[in-house]
Amino acid sequence: MKAHAEALPTQEMLINMGPQHPSTHGVLRVILRTDGEVVVNARPDMGYLHRALEKIGERVTYAQFMPFTDRLDYLASMNCNAAWAWTVEKLAGIEVPERAEYIRVIVCELNRISSHLIAFGSFTADMGAFTPFLYAIRERERVNDLFEDICGNRLTYNYVRIGGVSADLPDRFLEKTKEFLDYFEPKIPEYNNLISYNKIFVHRLANVAAISGGEAVAYGLTGPNLRGSGVSFDLRRNEPYSVYPKLDFDVCVGTGERGTVGDCFDRYMVRINEMRESVKILRQAIAQTPDGPVMAKVPRVFKPPAGEVYFRAENPRGETGIYLISDGTVNPYRLKIRAPSFVTMNIFEKVTKGLMIADIVAVIGSFDIILPEIDR
Protein backbone atom coordinates (compact mmCIF):
# COMPACT_ATOMS: atom_id res chain seq x y z
CA MET A 1 0.00 0.00 0.00
CA LYS A 2 2.78 2.36 0.99
CA ALA A 3 4.82 1.87 -2.11
CA HIS A 4 1.75 2.18 -4.17
CA ALA A 5 0.82 5.45 -2.54
CA GLU A 6 4.22 6.87 -3.33
CA ALA A 7 4.00 5.88 -6.94
CA LEU A 8 0.57 7.32 -7.37
CA PRO A 9 -0.20 10.19 -5.03
CA THR A 10 -3.72 10.00 -3.72
CA GLN A 11 -5.76 12.48 -1.84
CA GLU A 12 -6.70 11.87 1.73
CA MET A 13 -10.36 11.82 2.49
CA LEU A 14 -11.92 13.23 5.63
CA ILE A 15 -14.92 11.27 6.79
CA ASN A 16 -17.15 11.79 9.75
CA MET A 17 -18.06 8.51 11.31
CA GLY A 18 -20.89 9.35 13.59
CA PRO A 19 -22.36 10.78 15.74
CA GLN A 20 -25.11 8.93 13.91
CA HIS A 21 -23.56 5.75 12.74
CA PRO A 22 -24.79 2.22 13.36
CA SER A 23 -21.53 0.96 14.79
CA THR A 24 -20.30 3.67 17.04
CA HIS A 25 -22.40 2.34 19.90
CA GLY A 26 -24.16 5.58 20.50
CA VAL A 27 -23.20 9.09 19.65
CA LEU A 28 -19.48 8.74 19.33
CA ARG A 29 -18.05 10.70 16.47
CA VAL A 30 -14.83 9.55 14.91
CA ILE A 31 -13.14 11.88 12.50
CA LEU A 32 -11.45 9.64 9.99
CA ARG A 33 -8.72 10.68 7.68
CA THR A 34 -8.42 7.93 5.17
CA ASP A 35 -6.36 7.05 2.19
CA GLY A 36 -8.91 5.07 0.30
CA GLU A 37 -9.93 2.37 2.73
CA VAL A 38 -6.87 2.74 4.91
CA VAL A 39 -7.26 4.92 7.94
CA VAL A 40 -4.49 7.45 8.33
CA ASN A 41 -5.87 8.87 11.50
CA ALA A 42 -9.01 8.31 13.51
CA ARG A 43 -9.71 10.92 16.08
CA PRO A 44 -12.56 10.36 18.47
CA ASP A 45 -14.76 13.29 19.30
CA MET A 46 -17.09 12.88 22.19
CA GLY A 47 -19.37 14.88 24.38
CA TYR A 48 -22.58 14.54 22.45
CA LEU A 49 -24.18 12.95 25.45
CA HIS A 50 -22.65 15.14 28.12
CA ARG A 51 -25.16 15.62 30.89
CA ALA A 52 -22.83 17.04 33.49
CA LEU A 53 -23.46 14.15 35.85
CA GLU A 54 -20.61 15.31 38.05
CA LYS A 55 -22.19 18.72 38.38
CA ILE A 56 -25.53 17.15 39.13
CA GLY A 57 -23.78 15.08 41.76
CA GLU A 58 -22.76 18.22 43.58
CA ARG A 59 -26.34 19.37 43.76
CA VAL A 60 -28.19 16.28 44.90
CA THR A 61 -27.83 14.27 48.04
CA TYR A 62 -25.85 11.09 48.29
CA ALA A 63 -28.98 8.98 48.10
CA GLN A 64 -30.44 11.01 45.29
CA PHE A 65 -27.41 10.45 43.12
CA MET A 66 -28.12 6.73 43.00
CA PRO A 67 -30.56 6.92 40.07
CA PHE A 68 -28.03 8.98 38.14
CA THR A 69 -25.50 6.21 38.40
CA ASP A 70 -28.00 4.12 36.47
CA ARG A 71 -27.44 6.50 33.62
CA LEU A 72 -23.71 6.15 33.75
CA ASP A 73 -23.37 2.79 32.13
CA TYR A 74 -26.90 1.85 31.37
CA LEU A 75 -26.02 -1.67 30.37
CA ALA A 76 -24.58 -2.32 33.79
CA SER A 77 -26.65 -0.15 36.08
CA MET A 78 -26.41 -2.55 38.96
CA ASN A 79 -22.64 -2.39 38.91
CA CYS A 80 -22.68 1.38 38.85
CA ASN A 81 -25.26 1.50 41.62
CA ALA A 82 -23.16 -0.79 43.72
CA ALA A 83 -19.97 1.12 42.95
CA TRP A 84 -21.57 4.31 44.18
CA ALA A 85 -22.90 2.62 47.30
CA TRP A 86 -19.52 1.07 48.07
CA THR A 87 -17.82 4.44 47.61
CA VAL A 88 -20.13 6.23 49.98
CA GLU A 89 -19.95 3.39 52.46
CA LYS A 90 -16.19 3.52 52.33
CA LEU A 91 -16.36 7.24 52.95
CA ALA A 92 -18.79 7.00 55.83
CA GLY A 93 -17.56 3.71 57.20
CA ILE A 94 -20.91 1.98 57.03
CA GLU A 95 -21.04 -1.73 57.75
CA VAL A 96 -23.32 -3.43 55.29
CA PRO A 97 -25.17 -6.61 56.29
CA GLU A 98 -23.69 -9.67 54.69
CA ARG A 99 -26.89 -10.66 52.97
CA ALA A 100 -27.00 -7.31 51.26
CA GLU A 101 -23.44 -7.75 50.06
CA TYR A 102 -24.29 -11.14 48.63
CA ILE A 103 -27.34 -9.75 46.92
CA ARG A 104 -25.20 -7.02 45.45
CA VAL A 105 -22.71 -9.48 44.14
CA ILE A 106 -25.47 -11.59 42.65
CA VAL A 107 -27.07 -8.69 40.84
CA CYS A 108 -23.71 -7.34 39.76
CA GLU A 109 -22.67 -10.62 38.24
CA LEU A 110 -26.03 -11.05 36.56
CA ASN A 111 -25.62 -7.61 35.17
CA ARG A 112 -22.13 -8.45 34.04
CA ILE A 113 -23.55 -11.34 32.08
CA SER A 114 -26.21 -9.19 30.50
CA SER A 115 -23.72 -6.47 29.71
CA HIS A 116 -21.27 -8.89 28.14
CA LEU A 117 -24.14 -10.35 26.17
CA ILE A 118 -24.78 -6.98 24.65
CA ALA A 119 -21.09 -6.54 24.04
CA PHE A 120 -20.98 -9.89 22.31
CA GLY A 121 -24.15 -9.31 20.35
CA SER A 122 -23.47 -5.82 19.17
CA PHE A 123 -19.93 -6.75 18.31
CA THR A 124 -21.03 -9.59 16.07
CA ALA A 125 -23.65 -7.33 14.55
CA ASP A 126 -20.88 -4.86 13.79
CA MET A 127 -19.02 -7.65 12.12
CA GLY A 128 -22.01 -8.26 9.90
CA ALA A 129 -23.55 -11.27 11.60
CA PHE A 130 -26.83 -10.06 12.89
CA THR A 131 -28.24 -13.28 14.27
CA PRO A 132 -26.05 -13.66 17.37
CA PHE A 133 -27.18 -10.21 18.42
CA LEU A 134 -30.75 -11.41 18.58
CA TYR A 135 -29.71 -14.48 20.52
CA ALA A 136 -27.84 -12.30 22.98
CA ILE A 137 -30.82 -10.04 23.39
CA ARG A 138 -33.00 -13.07 24.02
CA GLU A 139 -30.80 -14.23 26.86
CA ARG A 140 -30.52 -10.73 28.25
CA GLU A 141 -34.27 -10.53 28.38
CA ARG A 142 -34.23 -13.27 30.97
CA VAL A 143 -31.82 -11.33 33.11
CA ASN A 144 -34.08 -8.34 32.74
CA ASP A 145 -37.00 -10.43 33.91
CA LEU A 146 -35.02 -11.34 37.00
CA PHE A 147 -34.17 -7.72 37.62
CA GLU A 148 -37.75 -6.71 37.14
CA ASP A 149 -38.70 -9.16 39.83
CA ILE A 150 -36.14 -7.78 42.14
CA CYS A 151 -36.47 -4.05 41.64
CA GLY A 152 -39.24 -3.38 39.18
CA ASN A 153 -37.19 -1.91 36.37
CA ARG A 154 -35.65 -3.46 33.36
CA LEU A 155 -32.87 -1.06 32.46
CA THR A 156 -32.21 1.58 35.07
CA TYR A 157 -32.50 -0.45 38.20
CA ASN A 158 -31.69 1.88 41.07
CA TYR A 159 -31.77 -1.11 43.34
CA VAL A 160 -28.74 -0.75 45.55
CA ARG A 161 -28.92 1.70 48.41
CA ILE A 162 -26.26 3.25 50.56
CA GLY A 163 -26.05 0.75 53.38
CA GLY A 164 -27.65 -2.17 51.61
CA VAL A 165 -30.22 -2.81 48.97
CA SER A 166 -33.67 -1.32 48.61
CA ALA A 167 -35.61 -4.52 49.10
CA ASP A 168 -34.94 -8.09 49.98
CA LEU A 169 -34.96 -10.72 47.28
CA PRO A 170 -38.42 -11.67 46.12
CA ASP A 171 -39.70 -15.21 46.55
CA ARG A 172 -38.05 -17.82 44.45
CA PHE A 173 -35.55 -15.34 43.10
CA LEU A 174 -32.55 -17.53 43.77
CA GLU A 175 -34.27 -20.53 42.22
CA LYS A 176 -35.13 -18.49 39.16
CA THR A 177 -31.57 -17.30 38.92
CA LYS A 178 -30.39 -20.87 39.08
CA GLU A 179 -32.81 -21.81 36.34
CA PHE A 180 -31.46 -19.01 34.25
CA LEU A 181 -27.91 -20.17 34.80
CA ASP A 182 -28.80 -23.71 33.82
CA TYR A 183 -30.40 -22.34 30.71
CA PHE A 184 -27.62 -19.94 29.93
CA GLU A 185 -24.51 -21.98 30.47
CA PRO A 186 -24.97 -24.27 27.43
CA LYS A 187 -25.54 -21.21 25.29
CA ILE A 188 -21.93 -20.11 25.56
CA PRO A 189 -20.48 -23.06 23.60
CA GLU A 190 -23.26 -22.51 21.14
CA TYR A 191 -22.14 -18.93 20.59
CA ASN A 192 -18.64 -20.17 20.12
CA ASN A 193 -19.74 -22.64 17.51
CA LEU A 194 -22.01 -20.18 15.82
CA ILE A 195 -19.67 -17.27 15.54
CA SER A 196 -16.62 -17.08 17.78
CA TYR A 197 -14.59 -19.61 15.91
CA ASN A 198 -16.07 -18.88 12.55
CA LYS A 199 -13.27 -18.50 10.09
CA ILE A 200 -14.41 -15.16 8.79
CA PHE A 201 -14.98 -13.81 12.26
CA VAL A 202 -11.58 -14.94 13.46
CA HIS A 203 -9.97 -13.42 10.41
CA ARG A 204 -11.68 -10.15 10.97
CA LEU A 205 -10.42 -9.90 14.53
CA ALA A 206 -7.16 -11.73 14.85
CA ASN A 207 -4.10 -9.48 14.78
CA VAL A 208 -6.27 -6.40 14.53
CA ALA A 209 -5.31 -3.57 16.87
CA ALA A 210 -3.14 -5.67 19.13
CA ILE A 211 -2.25 -3.88 22.34
CA SER A 212 0.66 -5.14 24.38
CA GLY A 213 0.28 -5.55 28.11
CA GLY A 214 2.59 -2.65 28.93
CA GLU A 215 0.80 -0.34 26.56
CA ALA A 216 -2.55 -1.32 27.96
CA VAL A 217 -1.45 -0.47 31.48
CA ALA A 218 0.12 2.82 30.45
CA TYR A 219 -2.96 3.89 28.56
CA GLY A 220 -5.17 3.06 31.47
CA LEU A 221 -7.07 0.22 29.90
CA THR A 222 -8.99 -1.73 32.47
CA GLY A 223 -11.30 -4.65 32.77
CA PRO A 224 -11.68 -7.05 29.86
CA ASN A 225 -9.65 -4.78 27.60
CA LEU A 226 -6.68 -4.95 29.93
CA ARG A 227 -7.06 -8.66 30.48
CA GLY A 228 -7.36 -9.14 26.76
CA SER A 229 -3.82 -7.86 26.54
CA GLY A 230 -2.68 -10.69 28.73
CA VAL A 231 -2.46 -8.77 32.01
CA SER A 232 -4.04 -10.83 34.72
CA PHE A 233 -5.57 -8.08 36.76
CA ASP A 234 -9.02 -8.09 38.17
CA LEU A 235 -10.10 -5.81 40.97
CA ARG A 236 -12.35 -8.49 42.29
CA ARG A 237 -9.26 -10.52 43.00
CA ASN A 238 -6.41 -8.03 43.26
CA GLU A 239 -8.16 -5.43 45.35
CA PRO A 240 -11.08 -7.37 46.67
CA TYR A 241 -14.14 -5.65 47.90
CA SER A 242 -17.51 -6.82 49.13
CA VAL A 243 -17.68 -10.61 49.45
CA TYR A 244 -15.58 -11.40 46.40
CA PRO A 245 -12.75 -12.85 48.51
CA LYS A 246 -15.10 -15.62 49.54
CA LEU A 247 -15.86 -16.57 45.97
CA ASP A 248 -13.67 -18.63 43.77
CA PHE A 249 -13.25 -17.71 40.13
CA ASP A 250 -10.60 -17.49 37.47
CA VAL A 251 -9.40 -14.31 35.90
CA CYS A 252 -9.72 -14.66 32.14
CA VAL A 253 -6.86 -13.29 30.12
CA GLY A 254 -6.16 -13.04 26.46
CA THR A 255 -3.89 -15.76 25.20
CA GLY A 256 -3.50 -14.77 21.61
CA GLU A 257 -5.04 -18.07 20.62
CA ARG A 258 -5.77 -16.94 17.07
CA GLY A 259 -3.30 -14.15 16.61
CA THR A 260 -1.29 -11.81 18.76
CA VAL A 261 -1.98 -11.28 22.42
CA GLY A 262 -4.17 -8.26 22.92
CA ASP A 263 -5.88 -8.23 19.57
CA CYS A 264 -9.58 -7.74 19.06
CA PHE A 265 -10.20 -11.45 19.19
CA ASP A 266 -8.60 -11.76 22.61
CA ARG A 267 -10.68 -8.93 23.99
CA TYR A 268 -13.75 -10.57 22.58
CA MET A 269 -12.86 -13.98 23.97
CA VAL A 270 -12.17 -12.59 27.42
CA ARG A 271 -15.74 -11.36 27.55
CA ILE A 272 -17.12 -14.68 26.43
CA ASN A 273 -15.07 -16.50 29.06
CA GLU A 274 -15.97 -14.00 31.72
CA MET A 275 -19.61 -14.83 31.26
CA ARG A 276 -18.70 -18.35 32.18
CA GLU A 277 -16.83 -17.16 35.25
CA SER A 278 -19.77 -15.02 36.26
CA VAL A 279 -21.96 -18.08 36.11
CA LYS A 280 -19.48 -19.78 38.39
CA ILE A 281 -19.49 -16.88 40.83
CA LEU A 282 -23.26 -16.75 40.77
CA ARG A 283 -23.62 -20.42 41.63
CA GLN A 284 -21.36 -20.00 44.63
CA ALA A 285 -22.98 -16.77 45.74
CA ILE A 286 -26.44 -18.29 45.54
CA ALA A 287 -25.33 -21.19 47.68
CA GLN A 288 -23.67 -18.95 50.24
CA THR A 289 -26.24 -16.19 50.60
CA PRO A 290 -27.05 -15.97 54.31
CA ASP A 291 -30.26 -14.79 55.89
CA GLY A 292 -30.49 -11.52 57.65
CA PRO A 293 -31.26 -7.88 57.16
CA VAL A 294 -30.54 -6.21 53.86
CA MET A 295 -30.14 -2.68 55.07
CA ALA A 296 -27.74 -1.15 57.55
CA LYS A 297 -28.78 1.63 59.85
CA VAL A 298 -28.19 4.75 57.85
CA PRO A 299 -29.53 8.04 59.15
CA ARG A 300 -32.17 9.47 56.93
CA VAL A 301 -30.40 12.76 56.73
CA PHE A 302 -27.16 11.26 55.67
CA LYS A 303 -24.12 13.40 56.29
CA PRO A 304 -20.88 11.50 55.86
CA PRO A 305 -17.78 12.83 57.56
CA ALA A 306 -15.60 15.20 55.60
CA GLY A 307 -12.92 13.43 53.66
CA GLU A 308 -11.79 12.23 50.31
CA VAL A 309 -12.09 8.74 49.08
CA TYR A 310 -11.35 6.91 45.88
CA PHE A 311 -13.06 3.63 45.28
CA ARG A 312 -12.94 1.49 42.22
CA ALA A 313 -15.04 -1.44 41.27
CA GLU A 314 -14.65 -3.99 38.54
CA ASN A 315 -17.50 -3.25 36.19
CA PRO A 316 -18.20 -5.05 32.93
CA ARG A 317 -16.41 -2.34 31.00
CA GLY A 318 -13.51 -2.03 33.35
CA GLU A 319 -12.67 -0.15 36.44
CA THR A 320 -15.26 2.40 37.46
CA GLY A 321 -13.50 4.65 39.89
CA ILE A 322 -15.33 7.20 41.93
CA TYR A 323 -13.37 9.97 43.57
CA LEU A 324 -15.60 11.50 46.16
CA ILE A 325 -14.91 14.55 48.27
CA SER A 326 -17.24 15.21 51.14
CA ASP A 327 -17.36 18.41 53.12
CA GLY A 328 -19.67 16.97 55.73
CA THR A 329 -22.89 18.31 54.26
CA VAL A 330 -25.68 16.34 52.67
CA ASN A 331 -24.35 16.92 49.17
CA PRO A 332 -21.11 15.59 47.78
CA TYR A 333 -18.57 18.36 47.40
CA ARG A 334 -16.91 16.92 44.37
CA LEU A 335 -17.62 13.79 42.53
CA LYS A 336 -15.39 12.52 39.81
CA ILE A 337 -16.26 9.40 37.94
CA ARG A 338 -13.43 7.66 36.25
CA ALA A 339 -15.34 5.96 33.51
CA PRO A 340 -13.55 2.98 32.00
CA SER A 341 -14.80 3.63 28.48
CA PHE A 342 -13.62 7.20 28.63
CA VAL A 343 -10.09 6.26 29.56
CA THR A 344 -10.09 3.43 27.07
CA MET A 345 -10.78 5.83 24.23
CA ASN A 346 -7.34 7.32 24.95
CA ILE A 347 -5.65 4.56 23.06
CA PHE A 348 -8.12 4.57 20.22
CA GLU A 349 -6.27 7.03 18.02
CA LYS A 350 -3.04 5.15 18.51
CA VAL A 351 -4.22 1.66 17.71
CA THR A 352 -6.33 2.57 14.73
CA LYS A 353 -3.51 4.03 12.67
CA GLY A 354 -3.12 2.13 9.45
CA LEU A 355 -6.16 -0.05 9.91
CA MET A 356 -9.01 -0.24 7.48
CA ILE A 357 -12.38 1.38 7.94
CA ALA A 358 -13.96 -1.95 8.71
CA ASP A 359 -11.39 -2.47 11.46
CA ILE A 360 -12.36 0.77 13.15
CA VAL A 361 -15.73 -0.79 13.71
CA ALA A 362 -14.06 -3.89 15.09
CA VAL A 363 -11.92 -1.86 17.46
CA ILE A 364 -14.85 0.15 18.77
CA GLY A 365 -16.78 -3.05 19.26
CA SER A 366 -13.93 -4.88 20.93
CA PHE A 367 -13.40 -2.04 23.40
CA ASP A 368 -17.06 -2.35 24.20
CA ILE A 369 -17.41 1.33 24.91
CA ILE A 370 -20.61 2.87 26.02
CA LEU A 371 -21.27 6.49 25.35
CA PRO A 372 -23.20 7.70 28.38
CA GLU A 373 -20.22 6.66 30.40
CA ILE A 374 -17.75 8.40 28.15
CA ASP A 375 -19.68 11.62 28.03
CA ARG A 376 -21.24 11.47 31.48
Partner: protein
Protein backbone atom coordinates in the same frame (compact mmCIF):
# COMPACT_ATOMS: atom_id res chain seq x y z
CA UNK B 1 2.29 -20.93 2.86
CA UNK B 2 2.29 -24.61 2.22
CA UNK B 3 -0.34 -26.48 0.35
CA UNK B 4 -1.44 -28.17 3.54
CA UNK B 5 -2.06 -24.87 5.20
CA UNK B 6 -3.82 -23.59 2.13
CA UNK B 7 -6.20 -26.50 2.01
CA UNK B 8 -6.54 -26.40 5.80
CA UNK B 9 -7.71 -22.82 5.55
CA UNK B 10 -10.35 -23.78 3.06
CA UNK B 11 -11.42 -26.72 5.13
CA UNK B 12 -11.66 -24.63 8.28
CA UNK B 13 -13.74 -22.02 6.51
CA UNK B 14 -16.13 -24.64 5.21
CA UNK B 15 -16.31 -26.54 8.48
CA UNK B 16 -16.94 -23.54 10.72
CA UNK B 17 -19.49 -22.19 8.30
CA UNK B 18 -21.29 -25.50 8.29
CA UNK B 19 -21.21 -25.60 12.07
CA UNK B 20 -22.75 -22.17 12.32
CA UNK B 21 -25.34 -22.93 9.71
CA UNK B 22 -26.38 -26.02 11.58
CA UNK B 23 -27.15 -23.92 14.63
CA UNK B 24 -29.09 -21.30 12.71
CA UNK B 25 -30.96 -24.02 10.89
CA UNK B 26 -31.95 -25.60 14.15
CA UNK B 27 -33.43 -22.33 15.33
CA UNK B 28 -34.92 -21.78 11.92
CA UNK B 29 -36.93 -24.96 11.83
CA UNK B 30 -37.81 -25.30 15.48
CA UNK B 31 -40.91 -23.23 16.12
CA UNK B 32 -40.54 -23.64 19.88
CA UNK B 33 -37.56 -21.36 19.81
CA UNK B 34 -39.66 -18.39 18.80
CA UNK B 35 -39.86 -16.05 21.72
CA UNK B 36 -41.68 -13.09 20.24
CA UNK B 37 -44.58 -11.74 22.18
CA UNK B 38 -47.26 -10.41 19.88
CA UNK B 39 -47.56 -7.25 21.82
CA UNK B 40 -50.99 -5.68 21.63
CA UNK B 41 -52.69 -9.09 21.73
CA UNK B 42 -50.35 -10.84 24.11
CA UNK B 43 -49.14 -8.94 27.09
CA UNK B 44 -46.46 -9.75 29.51
CA UNK B 45 -47.41 -9.57 33.11
CA UNK B 46 -45.41 -6.94 34.94
CA UNK B 47 -43.88 -8.33 38.08
CA UNK B 48 -45.06 -7.40 41.52
CA UNK B 49 -42.46 -4.76 42.09
CA UNK B 50 -42.81 -3.27 38.64
CA UNK B 51 -42.22 0.45 38.67
CA UNK B 52 -44.83 1.81 36.36
CA UNK B 53 -46.52 5.17 36.47
CA UNK B 54 -46.79 6.74 39.86
CA UNK B 55 -50.11 6.95 41.57
CA UNK B 56 -50.91 9.01 44.59
CA UNK B 57 -53.88 8.08 46.67
CA UNK B 58 -54.83 11.58 47.77
CA UNK B 59 -57.13 10.29 50.43
CA UNK B 60 -54.14 8.88 52.24
CA UNK B 61 -51.69 11.58 51.28
CA UNK B 62 -50.64 13.82 54.14
CA UNK B 63 -49.04 16.46 51.93
CA UNK B 64 -45.78 16.04 53.78
CA UNK B 65 -43.90 16.69 50.54
CA UNK B 66 -41.25 14.10 51.29
CA UNK B 67 -41.61 12.83 47.75
CA UNK B 68 -41.01 16.29 46.35
CA UNK B 69 -37.82 16.62 48.33
CA UNK B 70 -36.42 13.26 47.49
CA UNK B 71 -37.17 13.38 43.80
CA UNK B 72 -33.85 13.86 42.00
CA UNK B 73 -35.44 15.31 38.90
CA UNK B 74 -38.18 17.45 40.44
CA UNK B 75 -40.97 15.81 38.60
CA UNK B 76 -43.42 16.04 41.46
CA UNK B 77 -45.11 19.35 42.20
CA UNK B 78 -47.17 19.64 45.31
CA UNK B 79 -49.16 22.49 46.70
CA UNK B 80 -50.92 22.41 50.02
CA UNK B 81 -52.59 24.84 52.34
CA UNK B 82 -52.92 24.70 56.08
CA UNK B 83 -56.44 23.64 56.84
CA UNK B 84 -58.72 24.53 59.67
CA UNK B 85 -57.46 21.61 61.74
CA UNK B 86 -53.87 22.60 61.11
CA UNK B 87 -53.45 19.61 58.87
CA UNK B 88 -52.28 20.24 55.37
CA UNK B 89 -54.89 20.13 52.65
CA UNK B 90 -53.65 19.09 49.26
CA UNK B 91 -54.40 21.72 46.69
CA UNK B 92 -52.66 20.21 43.74
CA UNK B 93 -50.47 17.20 43.19
CA UNK B 94 -48.89 16.78 39.83
CA UNK B 95 -46.40 14.25 38.56
CA UNK B 96 -44.69 14.89 35.30
CA UNK B 97 -44.18 11.37 34.07
CA UNK B 98 -42.35 12.69 31.07
CA UNK B 99 -39.61 13.71 33.42
CA UNK B 100 -39.95 10.93 35.96
CA UNK B 101 -37.16 8.40 35.84
CA UNK B 102 -38.99 5.72 37.76
CA UNK B 103 -36.30 5.42 40.37
CA UNK B 104 -38.82 4.74 43.08
CA UNK B 105 -37.18 6.91 45.71
CA UNK B 106 -40.40 8.83 46.34
CA UNK B 107 -42.38 5.65 46.91
CA UNK B 108 -39.81 4.45 49.39
CA UNK B 109 -39.90 7.59 51.50
CA UNK B 110 -43.65 8.15 51.46
CA UNK B 111 -44.67 7.94 55.13
CA UNK B 112 -48.38 7.11 54.66
CA UNK B 113 -47.57 4.88 51.68
CA UNK B 114 -50.05 6.78 49.57
CA UNK B 115 -47.67 7.08 46.65
CA UNK B 116 -47.27 3.85 44.73
CA UNK B 117 -46.03 2.57 41.45
CA UNK B 118 -48.81 1.14 39.34
CA UNK B 119 -48.17 -1.47 36.70
CA UNK B 120 -49.11 0.93 33.93
CA UNK B 121 -46.53 1.46 31.24
CA UNK B 122 -48.45 2.59 28.19
CA UNK B 123 -48.70 6.28 27.82
CA UNK B 124 -48.05 7.27 24.28
CA UNK B 125 -49.32 10.73 23.70
CA UNK B 126 -49.03 13.50 21.19
CA UNK B 127 -48.76 16.35 23.61
CA UNK B 128 -46.42 16.85 26.48
CA UNK B 129 -49.16 18.33 28.57
CA UNK B 130 -50.81 14.95 28.82
CA UNK B 131 -47.73 13.58 30.48
CA UNK B 132 -48.50 15.53 33.59
CA UNK B 133 -50.68 13.49 35.88
CA UNK B 134 -53.07 15.43 38.06
CA UNK B 135 -54.25 13.71 41.17
CA UNK B 136 -56.44 16.37 42.69
CA UNK B 137 -59.50 16.63 40.54
CA UNK B 138 -60.89 19.73 42.12
CA UNK B 139 -59.79 23.16 40.98
CA UNK B 140 -57.00 24.57 43.06
CA UNK B 141 -58.81 27.87 43.46
CA UNK B 142 -61.91 26.14 44.77
CA UNK B 143 -59.98 24.14 47.32
CA UNK B 144 -58.19 27.22 48.48
CA UNK B 145 -61.40 29.15 48.73
CA UNK B 146 -63.08 26.33 50.57
CA UNK B 147 -60.22 25.85 52.98
CA UNK B 148 -59.97 29.56 53.56
CA UNK B 149 -63.64 29.61 54.26
CA UNK B 150 -63.36 26.70 56.64
CA UNK B 151 -60.47 28.31 58.37
CA UNK B 152 -62.39 31.51 58.70
CA UNK B 153 -65.40 29.59 59.93
CA UNK B 154 -63.30 27.67 62.36
CA UNK B 155 -61.79 30.88 63.60
CA UNK B 156 -65.22 32.32 63.97
CA UNK B 157 -66.41 29.15 65.64
CA UNK B 158 -63.49 29.22 67.96
CA UNK B 159 -64.33 32.76 68.68
CA UNK B 160 -67.89 31.74 69.25
CA UNK B 161 -66.84 28.69 71.23
CA UNK B 162 -65.05 30.87 73.61
CA UNK B 163 -68.38 32.29 74.36
CA UNK B 164 -70.86 29.50 73.75
CA UNK B 165 -68.67 26.36 74.08
CA UNK B 166 -70.20 24.71 71.06
CA UNK B 167 -68.50 23.35 68.02
CA UNK B 168 -69.75 22.43 64.63
CA UNK B 169 -67.48 21.91 61.75
CA UNK B 170 -67.96 20.84 58.23
CA UNK B 171 -67.34 17.18 57.32
CA UNK B 172 -64.14 17.96 55.44
CA UNK B 173 -62.45 19.19 58.56
CA UNK B 174 -63.94 17.03 61.28
CA UNK B 175 -61.80 17.91 64.23
CA UNK B 176 -62.58 21.24 65.62
CA UNK B 177 -59.77 23.69 65.58
CA UNK B 178 -59.14 25.16 68.91
CA UNK B 179 -57.32 28.35 69.27
CA UNK B 180 -56.33 30.74 66.58
CA UNK B 181 -55.64 29.50 63.06
CA UNK B 182 -54.26 32.23 60.92
CA UNK B 183 -53.98 29.96 57.94
CA UNK B 184 -51.91 31.31 55.16
CA UNK B 185 -51.79 29.28 51.99
CA UNK B 186 -48.28 28.04 51.62
CA UNK B 187 -46.34 26.37 48.93
CA UNK B 188 -44.10 23.61 50.01
CA UNK B 189 -41.08 21.79 48.95
CA UNK B 190 -40.93 22.72 45.34
CA UNK B 191 -37.63 24.39 44.60
CA UNK B 192 -38.26 27.96 43.64
CA UNK B 193 -36.66 27.80 40.24
CA UNK B 194 -38.17 24.53 39.24
CA UNK B 195 -41.61 25.81 39.97
CA UNK B 196 -42.14 28.05 36.95
CA UNK B 197 -41.02 25.31 34.63
CA UNK B 198 -43.92 23.10 35.51
CA UNK B 199 -46.75 25.45 34.55
CA UNK B 200 -44.97 26.29 31.31
CA UNK B 201 -44.77 22.60 30.70
CA UNK B 202 -48.40 22.09 31.50
CA UNK B 203 -49.42 24.83 29.17
CA UNK B 204 -47.99 22.81 26.37
CA UNK B 205 -44.89 24.83 25.77
CA UNK B 206 -42.55 22.25 24.34
CA UNK B 207 -39.51 24.52 24.30
CA UNK B 208 -39.66 25.16 27.97
CA UNK B 209 -40.25 21.53 28.71
CA UNK B 210 -37.36 20.55 26.54
CA UNK B 211 -34.92 22.74 28.32
CA UNK B 212 -36.02 21.47 31.62
CA UNK B 213 -35.51 17.91 30.59
CA UNK B 214 -32.20 18.19 28.92
CA UNK B 215 -30.33 20.07 31.56
CA UNK B 216 -31.64 18.96 34.87
CA UNK B 217 -28.40 20.10 36.40
CA UNK B 218 -29.06 23.67 35.62
CA UNK B 219 -32.51 23.85 36.94
CA UNK B 220 -32.16 24.40 40.59
CA UNK B 221 -29.35 26.78 39.93
CA UNK B 222 -29.23 29.65 42.36
CA UNK B 223 -30.77 27.79 45.24
CA UNK B 224 -30.06 24.13 45.20
CA UNK B 225 -32.72 22.09 46.81
CA UNK B 226 -31.34 20.81 50.03
CA UNK B 227 -34.31 18.81 51.05
CA UNK B 228 -32.93 16.97 54.00
CA UNK B 229 -32.10 20.15 55.80
CA UNK B 230 -35.62 21.40 55.90
CA UNK B 231 -37.09 21.62 59.38
CA UNK B 232 -39.72 18.93 59.35
CA UNK B 233 -38.58 15.35 59.41
CA UNK B 234 -41.33 12.83 59.22
CA UNK B 235 -41.13 9.07 59.09
CA UNK B 236 -38.27 7.13 60.58
CA UNK B 237 -37.32 5.18 57.54
CA UNK B 238 -33.79 5.17 56.38
CA UNK B 239 -33.08 6.04 52.82
Amino acid sequence: MGLKEYLGDIWEAVATTAKGMRITARYGVDPRETITLQYPEERWEPSERFRGFLYNDIKKCTSCSMCVKVCPVDCIALEAVRGADKKLVLVSYEINIGRCMYCGLCVEVCPPKSLTHTSGYEKATVSRGELILHFVTEEAVEIKARVAKQVAEAAAKAEAAKEAKTTDVSPEAPTGAKGDAPSVPEKKGVPPVAQPAAPAFAAGNPAAGDDGEKKPAQEPKGEPAKPEESPEEGGGKTI
